[in-house]
Symmetry: C3
Subunit: 279 residues, 3 copies
């Protein structure tokens, strides 16, 4: 079709929009001079995803959906960890009301990130195991800082089964054969390995370089009418999204049954005691 650069152009963004900032204690959201939203997780020491951090992420994603920025870059304030994944303390002797909200908020964050109508990129400036890898894979583009950092869904190493939508998100990113091997062996990929398999799209010298490269990706959409772009993205991501929408309640119940299991609590107890001894 030859209908170039016309439809939806009304929605095209002005080159400079006012810099906005929304600073919660755990997530810093800034729209920088290039009109790009930078969302920084800042829950020391390792950005463990507890209910509070997830709530702030969810709220910040709502803001980006409204702030008319050119796109979102997700990153971390830590020099070594992007995000260590779900916070184990949300599962240890939890209040079940809170545990349920913890899980549904995690689902919300995924819906809002994986299915967003804005452009998303991850500047992965540190380790990204489990839930950290999920957040990165939910973006449309991934740039990872060179170094000893690793990324992967390593749940099985922890005796945990990644939920189906974690798996779906991985199979949307890398080939099925690679995903099965990675998921069952709890494989953590180095930057070079992740590049080769296309779990990440580019490597970077440092965080600033990663953000620059994410911006180059976002810039690719400068001349793409945003409505056509976002519907196209949501259509090709439709199967995993529909899959969780249809099974959302069962997925929550599965998580609750897991944390209510006395054996799981016993294991968590042992693990936490061993951490305390170390410390």
């Amino acid at each position: 079709m030859f209908l170039r650069k016309v439809v939806n152009n009304a929605k095209r963004l002005a080159p400079n929009i006012r810099t906005m900032a929304s600073q919660g204690p755990l997530v810093d959201l800034t729209v920088d001079n290039d009109g790009v939203s930078i969302m920084t997780m800042q829950r020391p020491p390792v950005n463990s995803l507890n209910l509070d951090l997830l709530r702030e992420l969810s709220k910040s994603l709502d803001e980006v959906a409204k702030n008319k920025s050119r796109g979102l870059i997700l990153t971390s304030s830590s020099p070594t960890v992007f995000s260590a994944g779900l916070d184990i303390m949300e599962m240890y002797k939890p209040d079940f009301k809170r545990a349920e909200e913890f899980w549904t908020t995690l689902q919300d964050v995924w819906f809002k990130l994986f299915g967003s109508n804005f452009v998303t990129a991850a500047a992965i400036n540190g380790h990204a195991p489990a839930g950290g890898c999920l957040l990165a894979m939910s973006c449309e583009y991934r740039v990872m800082v060179q170094g000893k950092f690793t990324i992967g869904l390593n749940e099985t190493a922890l005796g945990i089964v990644a939920p189906t939508w974690f798996m779906d998100t991985m199979c949307h990113t890398i080939p099925m054969r690679e995903a099965e091997y990675a998921l069952t062996t709890a494989r953590m990929f180095t930057v070079d390995e992740a590049l080769k398999i296309r779990l990440i799209d580019e490597s970077a010298a440092d965080k600033a370089d990663a953000i620059t490269k994410c911006k180059s990706f976002i810039k690719k959409f400068e001349r793409i009418p945003p409505l056509a772009r976002s519907i196209t993205k949501q259509k090709i991501r439709q199967a995993p999204i529909k899959n969780l929408q249809d099974n959302r309640k069962a997925d929550s119940e599965e998580f609750l049954a897991y944390v209510k299991n006395p054996k799981v609590q016993q294991s968590l107890d042992m693990y936490i005691q061993s951490l305390k001894k170390k410390a």
Copy 2:
């Protein structure tokens, strides 16, 4: 199983069949001396897919299904364009009856090409954006002529969302991750890029070379019983086919709603005026 070269051999084709030709104004169908159907789109200047061209393609595909040739090669009479995709004039202030027939004929062409029981190959001798890329991807094999030609589903650049079955056809050809990136960024691949990602299977020096290479592909099936071959092809292509069969009406209605949208008509009007000024 050791049941070699026996079953269905009754259906094996004679090495030389009479040369047939069916020349419409817009599609030339010839069975050449090797018993291969050559279907040439010839609607100058750029093989825009209007209702008339689609009707002739549909009719020609019916003929190939009956002509007992060894297979089909789809190509273009233009030295620079394989097909520029859907003709915008079918969407601009259309008669709605005709617009509906335009769309259902496009669906028909896809069903007959993507789901054909005969072997199909595309000799891509020029640019193949959008609908041109769809036709090429619907074949089983793609050879593209080296040069400055490009191929891809670039609908988003035009403010358009490719229908789900366009996306399904792409995901049947290249990995999901590559398809998402290509579809959202409206990526047009050079020949080398298309080769690397396997969007095409081979490159060629010129049109004659492309046709020779397509014939080599078709020749691979010389000793494969054709019924087993065609059922196997249709089985592995079943999911996208069933998907459109089940949603055919909704898909047409979506297209009609699109062309009935005043904003779309306004955009088309602006675009056509700008073309006239250029000319």
Copy 3:
């Protein structure tokens, strides 16, 4: 999540378990000193999968599910053939009761191998066409001995359509585009070709080397809690498994209709006569 090495560790295996052996005439099952089950097909000359071999495979797979070994390696006693696939004599003028049992036993073997809760690897020490390739692809890892051996689903060359679950198993292993090409052209891959496309994971100098490499793969799971591992595997393999579960009866009926077809019997008769003449 930071719940490392705790949950399910109760199920961790002791490093040395007693060596068990179950020797049927057609399948040798041994648990070796490393605690790995070695399942050897030994039906000369080419491990054609007849009802008796399939029954023994099915029974042996049940034993492995119970023997608490570290994992399974599937291999062949022949120096040149892993398995030649389904035995044509089970289809030639069959007793229909037996033909039905033949097919449902094949389905059982696939369910037990593809969906097993234990780790599986194939030491492919010879040719692996059709059903032989299916068995290898149903494992989680494939090591193939270098030489003139080939592997692939070549059913179409024999005038046969591979069942949907054969195709699903292939699409779980290699990209869709490659699977379509391989299935329709009846492609038999050399070891190098299979490696490149990741139809196999490693090549080996000889059978002993192949088994050593399979063991290295199995060893990767030493520190992975087995329950989390097996549920993860079964979840990512769920779609093909559910697909056959839901269509199991229709799949059997399709096979029976095939062998009841007089034309098929006539072809088989011609083929078998030609074999006799050769011999």
